[in-house]
Every structure is written in structure tokens, then in C-alpha cells.
């Protein structure tokens, strides 16, 4: 097994061979990938060394100390956090070799084509169709026949679609079986002429997300991930990794939404009222407790005893972000009646705690909807953590094409 000492040595070797000060950023990142220091828990030859994931921190610290460039992970979060682990688990050798390196260095941005206008919480009800190009059926018995797929449908809430080179896509390949069984997972080339990306303007005024219209998009069978009809299972890997990514954050005290309002409170005594004081103190305490819960979860992961608390963290942060930013708008009084800028823009990066109070208030409304609504998450906690009975299901054994619309 690769030790911390070994990783330190390899990192120093990389730095010596490619001094960050005199090396092009992309060249350095490619060299880092090839040295197995990109994500050390990945296999050799795919940017890793098969080392424990916890040792990545050793490499990161050495590189940061040396002033090496990073791959700007916030810009390529969907690729790193969702596409890559899924490709690693289900991809062919050719797919892994072709896709993971440009993904990690950030040359090729990824987006996610999952949600649809008619398939939100009930994602498995999706209607985007993928049909065999030769006009044949899409039964898995013919999966090895090669050829390609033609995709038609509409996806929504796609961040980064306008800058993405690739998308992870789930589409219906068999409408004659129950909904979870007729889905297949694809890697979609966003430069295909049938892909149309339109900005989706949201209540903040900007367009952080897109609608993506797929019209006769051709995907070769070699870009299928996993078996035909097995897309729902493959997608679970993507979605589970999304939750791990959310749970891994480490915040200092006042590091989240409570920071700006606390600062305003301290600097603007003329805004204070007794009612706001009581509410602020309550939320400050709750934010601190939520931060500690996140820290405890992180310590459990490091100790190799992951707990189910991750499911709850998102619930807590959504509620707190909304209540705290709501309080902040109220605290600002007359200024709370204003808004910084309604101009329609397409930001590449989104910071929930950025901009001004009004933006934070409006953006946080999405926190209880995106990545699983709070209502669905409560069901998940109740069923998977507490073991309470599942919701009654009427769609489990019905062919997708016969479901009510």
C-alpha cells in the first residue's frame, strides 16, 4: 500500500520535474494526472495510485505549499463528483482512457442531463427516448450489436450545459417495462448538432441553469455506460457520489450563510432590534450546531465509519440558509427593499453566500429543491435510516408506457 511518505516523495518528484513557476498550467495538471497524484484512490494509469482516499490531503498540502496550480474543482464539480466515479465504476477501458484525463484537468467540462420537466422527484419517470439507430428494438439481447442511438427529449436544470463538452445522460430505451428497468445511461457529446442549450432564467434574475433540447442526437453505442436497461442502477452511483460531495465540506465557525449577517449585525448597530436579536442568536446557535454535525460526519468518514447523517445535513442547511438570509433582508430594513442587480447573466460559478442579501434570500429557496427536495429527503431518512414503511407504490409493476400522465 502507498504510504504518506511515498506520496510525499512522488509529489516532490513531480514538482522537481515540472516546476510550477515555469510550467504551463495545463501541462502541469496533465503531468500530475500521469504521475497518479490527481486522485490517489483511483487506479494507476487513470490519475491515481490505488492509495487510500484519505491520503489525497497529503498530496494537496505539498502541492499547495509549492504554489502549484489546481484544477479549479468548483468549475468542474459535476465531472469530478458525479461523472468520474460513475465512469470509473461502469466505463469500458476505452471510455476511461479517453475521458478521465481531460475531465480531471478541466479541459472538458461535464454536465448532467437527468432531470426533466415531467421528472423531478420521480426521476425514473423520465421521457427522453433513445432508440436504436438501425430502427431495431432496444432489447438488451441485441446490446452487443453495435451501431448507435438516436435521442429525443428535453432536460432541465442543467448547470454548465453551455460550456460543457460532455454530458452524463439517462434516457428511456424500453417503454414496455416498468420505469426503473427501461432506462439506459449514456455519455452524450454536447457538440452534436441536435443538442440545443437555452438559458433558464431563475428568480434571482440570472441563468445559472439551462434547458437542453435533444433532437435526433446521435450517440454511438460505444458511448453507452453500463448495460442497456441498467441505467437506473448506474445513476445511483452518480447520485450517491453527489451526496458524498455535499457531506465532505469543512467550514470554520460563521463560515456559511450566518457569516454575512453576523458581520452586518456587528457593524451596523443602528439596525438592531430586540426581536431580530432573539432570532439571530437562535439561528447562530443552530448554524454552529449544523457545522459541528458536518464536522462530526467528516470525522466519521475519515475514521472509516460513515454515518447516515449526510442525508440530514442537506435538510438542515437548506432550512438554515433560507431562514438566515430571510432574517438578513429584514435586518437591512430600507436597504432590504432593494436588489443588487436583476440583469440576466450566465455565471460559471455559483456562490450561495455571495452577492447581497436579497440574492442570497432568493437563491437559497432552491436549496430545498435541488439535489432532492426536502420532502423526498425526509422520506429517505424515515425509510432508510429509521426503517419505517415505504410509501405505497402504484407504479412498480406497470410498464412505463401505461403510467398515468
Amino acid at each position: 500500500m502507498t504510504s504518506a511518505e511515498e506520496l510525499r516523495r512522488r509529489t516532490q518528484d513531480l514538482l522537481a520535474a515540472h516546476p510550477p513557476a515555469s510550467t504551463d498550467r495545463l501541462d502541469f495538471l496533465r503531468a500530475r494526472f500521469d504521475a497518479g497524484l490527481a486522485w490517489v484512490h483511483y487506479p494507476e494509469g487513470l490519475g491515481g495510485l490505488g492509495a487510500p482516499r484519505s491520503l489525497q490531503a497529503v498530496v494537496d498540502a505539498e502541492l499547495e505549499a509549492a504554489g502549484a496550480p489546481d484544477n479549479d474543482p468548483r468549475r468542474i464539480g459535476i465531472g469530478l463528483g458525479m461523472a468520474a466515479p460513475t465512469i470509473l465504476k461502469y466505463g469500458t477501458e476505452e471510455q476511461k482512457q479517453r475521458l478521465l484525463r481531460p475531465l480531471w484537468v478541466g479541459e472538458e467540462v461535464w454536465c448532467q442531463l437527468f432531470s426533466e420537466p415531467g421528472a423531478g422527484s420521480d426521476l425514473a419517470a423520465l421521457r427522453t427516448r433513445a432508440v436504436r439507430e438501425d430502427g431495431g428494438t432496444s432489447r438488451s439481447s441485441e446490446a452487443e450489436s453495435g451501431g448507435g442511438w438516436v435521442v429525443n427529449g428535453q432536460k432541465v436544470w442543467t448547470s454548465s450545459a453551455h460550456v460543457a463538452r460532455w454530458a452524463i445522460l439517462i434516457a428511456r430505451t424500453d417503454p414496455d417495462v416498468p420505469k426503473h428497468r427501461g432506462i439506459t445511461y449514456f455519455l452524450c457529446d454536447m457538440t452534436d448538432p441536435g443538442v440545443e442549450v437555452r438559458p433558464l432564467r431563475q428568480i434571482t434574475g440570472e441563468a445559472e441553469f439551462n434547458e437542453v433540447f435533444l433532437t435526433d442526437v446521435r450517440i454511438p453505442d460505444s458511448r453507452r455506460l453500463g448495460e442497456v436497461g441498467d441505467g437506473w442502477r448506474v445513476a445511483q452511483t452518480t447520485l450517491n457520489n453527489e451526496r458524498v460531495a455535499i457531506g465532505g465540506m469543512r467550514l470554520p465557525r460563521e463560515g456559511g450563510m450566518i457569516g454575512p449577517v453576523s458581520k452586518t449585525w456587528r457593524e451596523r448597530p443602528e439596525l438592531r432590534t430586540h426581536d431580530l436579536h432573539q432570532r439571530l442568536l437562535k439561528l447562530w446557535g443552530e448554524a454552529e450546531v449544523a457545522r459541528l454535525t458536518g464536522e462530526r460526519l467528516r470525522q466519521q468518514l475519515v475514521a472509516g465509519q460513515p454515518g447516515p447523517e449526510g442525508a440530514g445535513m442537506k435538510l438542515a442547511f437548506a432550512r438554515l440558509n433560507q431562514e438566515i438570509s430571510g432574517l438578513e433582508v429584514e435586518l437591512l430594513g430600507e436597504e432590504g427593499l432593494l436588489y443588487d442587480d436583476w440583469t440576466m447573466r450566465r455565471p460559471e460559478l455559483v456562490d450561495f453566500t455571495g452577492r447581497e442579501a436579497g440574492y442570497r434570500y432568493l437563491r437559497s429557496k432552491g436549496n430545498s429543491i435541488e439535489g432532492g427536495t426536502s420532502e423526498v429527503l425526509l422520506n429517505i431518512v424515515a425509510e432508510r435510516v429509521l426503517g419505517l414503511p415505504s410509501e405505497p407504490r402504484t407504479d412498480k409493476d406497470v410498464a412505463w408506457k401505461d403510467l398515468a400522465r
Binding site: R266, R272, T273, W284, G285, L378, V381, S390
Partner: protein
């Protein structure tokens, strides 16, 4: 805020938990507690003897040089989680934590050794509702003797030694046989209160009362959060168990989404409370950031424990309203705990000063 607090349980702490839980399973079942609380002897002194004489748990916070265990608040917190889970009527928080901390502050070695062994039970004669740093009632000190009446003293009925603050600023040790201790009819019958009347009682000066009381109440408040965690965890677990079993309308009641969401919400609160309580216990043991950690934990813990007990009662339906079912023990303890060592509101007010979020 240099080092991160350790918010997990060590293997030793888990082993301690298992041992205490086993003992409680044998000595402290719910019907036994319900029968006991209305008797003349609401405290379970056989259990106390097993916890202290048998396991040495009264001495966790006492150094080994004084015949204690030389352990920390982290271990005491684990014991309190289990005692909370069983609403055990033993003077652990009051004697092994609060009175012990006062004696540690004063450096009273002989009494520490006695309390550590559990053969002697101590009680700080400050009303249970007083928050760390808040004003408390004192008795008069005249010609070497103490006079006065103090109310709301938890577990005084079984105390051998009372630690009494006097008007000269001193903290005095008074032998319980020299005082008149009168039980008060208490909301929480598992941690009964009493009135302590001193009518010319001799007292031994231990040291300055103010710092000793402040320190002991801070430790009491901080570790109370672990007791509240145990209470809340039991009520949640038991309610989930019951709702999987209980059927109405030809299905388990726990399958109704409105109830599932309430239980999931409660689970989230309990998970949060665990982090806050562990943080307080760890901070008390290291001394780092302890004021904020205790205050945050107490501002959060009381509403969660009360909410958990109230939900447990409601979701049990009619059976939850009976004297026979133990949920009322948890409700009464949780509600009393929400006042003990300062309410959540009092702790939030303290937080304003600690983190510089000043009042208008």
C-alpha cells in the same frame, strides 16, 4: 480554536457505554422507576452503589491521586447519555459532576476522595434553575454558623454533604445531618428537589463561592446536554419501534407520511444534538472554547429533548398519556432539564456576549 474537537466516541468510551447500559438493564427498568418515584425513597441507591462502588464512575472527574479515575468529561458524558436514556434516578450529574467540580475548584481533597468513591453524595446548594454566571441565593454566615433557607436543590434528599454559598462570599461544606432537608413535590420525580434549611449549622469554609459555582454550573450545563441526548435518543427509538408495530386503518401507523416526516425531523435534531453534546464534553475536557461550546449545546439541547418527548407522547396516542407507560418520565425529565442550569433563552443571551452579537 486551533485543534478540531474530537466529536466521535473512542472504543473505550463505547465499552464504557456498553457496561453502563448492561447495568441499567439489570437495575433500572421502567416499571421499577415508575414504582419507585412515588415511594419514600425515589432514588435508586442500589443502582448508585453499583455505578460507584462497582464501576468507580463517581470518580471519573477526580484525579487518580485522590482515588478517582482521572478520566475526563468525555467519559462522564457517555455515562450521562445512558443515565438519560434510562431516566435513572441517581444523583450522578449533581454529585459526580456539579458538586465534584465545585470541590475541584476549591481544591478540597478529602471531600473529593469521598465523593469519588460514591460512599458520600454531595449536592451544590444552588437552585437547579440557575445558569452559569447567574445570581444565586446565599445563606447568612454569623459567628461561624450558617442560617437560611435554600429551595430547589436537586438530589439534596440523598446528599451527605451540602456545598452552601454564604453571604460572606465563601462556599461552605455542611454535613447534611446538621441541616433540615425537606422534599419538594417536583415536576421531575426522578431528580427530586428539596428545601435546605440551616438554623445555626456549622460549616467548613472551602473557598470562594463565585468561581466554584460558576465552574460547576458550567460543567453541569455542558454535560446535561449529553443526558438530554440520551433522553431524546430513547424517545425517538422507542417511538419508531412502536409506530412500526402499531396498526390502524390496516397498516402500520409509522407508514403515514406525516408521521414519517415528523420522525425524520426528530432524527435530524437528535443527530445535531449528538454533535453539539460531544463538542461540549470535549471542550470541557480540553478547556478550549468551553464557554461557547457549552452555551451552544445548551441553547440547542433543551428544545430538542422537550420536542422529542412531546412528539413521543403524541405519537404514542392514548397509551402515552397513561401513568403506566414510561414516556411521561421522559417528558417530565426533559421539561425539568430545559430549566436546569439555565434555559435555552438564558444560554442564547450569554452567547450574545461570547460571540459579540450584542443586544440593541
Amino acid at each position: 480554536m486551533s485543534a478540531q474537537p474530537d466529536l466521535l466516541y473512542s472504543e473505550e468510551e463505547e465499552a464504557l457505554r456498553a457496561a453502563v447500559r448492561d447495568l441499567l438493564a439489570d437495575h433500572c427498568d421502567a416499571p421499577g422507576v415508575i414504582a419507585r418515584i412515588e415511594s419514600d425513597a425515589p432514588h435508586n441507591l442500589a443502582l448508585w452503589k453499583a455505578l460507584t462502588d462497582g464501576m468507580g464512575l463517581a470518580g471519573l472527574l477526580v484525579p487518580e491521586a485522590l482515588d478517582g479515575q482521572g478520566a475526563t468529561h468525555r467519559e462522564a458524558a457517555v455515562v450521562l447519555e445512558e443515565l438519560g436514556r434510562a431516566v435513572a434516578p441517581v444523583p450522578y450529574l449533581t454529585s459526580a459532576v456539579v458538586a465534584t467540580e465545585a470541590l475541584l475548584a476549591c481544591g478540597t481533597d478529602d471531600l473529593l476522595t469521598e465523593l469519588a468513591s460514591g460512599t458520600s453524595i454531595g449536592a451544590l446548594a444552588v437552585a437547579l434553575n440557575v445558569a452559569p454566571g447567574a445570581a444565586y441565593k446565599v445563606v447568612q454566615h454569623e459567628n461561624g454558623l450558617l442560617h437560611g433557607e435554600l429551595t430547589g436543590i436537586a438530589d439534596a434528599a440523598v446528599a451527605d454533604v451540602l456545598l452552601v454559598p454564604a453571604d460572606d462570599g465563601g462556599l461552605y461544606a455542611v454535613d447534611a445531618t446538621a441541616a433540615t432537608v425537606t422534599p419538594q413535590v417536583s415536576l421531575d420525580l426522578t431528580r427530586p428537589l428539596a428545601t435546605v434549611t440551616l438554623d445555626g449549622a456549622p460549616g467548613r469554609l472551602l473557598g470562594d463561592a463565585e468561581p466554584a459555582v460558576r465552574r460547576s454550573l458550567r460543567a453541569g450545563a455542558g454535560l446535561l446536554a449529553s443526558e438530554q441526548l440520551g433522553l431524546a435518543d430513547w424517545t425517538l427509538t422507542e417511538t419508531v419501534r412502536y409506530l412500526k408495530d402499531r396498526k390502524q386503518f390496516n397498516r402500520p401507523v409509522g407508514g403515514f407520511q406525516s408521521l414519517k416526516h415528523r420522525l425524520a425531523q426528530l432524527w435530524l435534531e437528535v443527530a445535531n444534538l449528538r454533535a453539539a453534546a460531544r463538542n461540549a464534553a470535549d471542550a470541557l475536557s480540553t478547556g478550549q472554547d468551553a464557554d461557547v461550546a457549552v452555551t451552544v449545546a445548551q441553547a440547542y439541547a433543551a428544545p430538542v429533548a422537550v420536542h422529542a418527548a412531546e412528539e413521543a407522547l403524541q405519537l404514542h396516542g392514548g397509551i402515552g398519556m397513561t401513568w403506566e407507560h414510561p414516556v411521561h418520565l421522559y417528558l417530565k425529565r426533559a421539561k425539568a432539564d430545559s430549566i436546569a442550569y439555565g434555559t435555552a433563552g438564558a444560554h442564547r443571551e450569554a452567547l450574545a456576549g461570547l460571540v459579540d452579537l450584542q443586544a440593541p
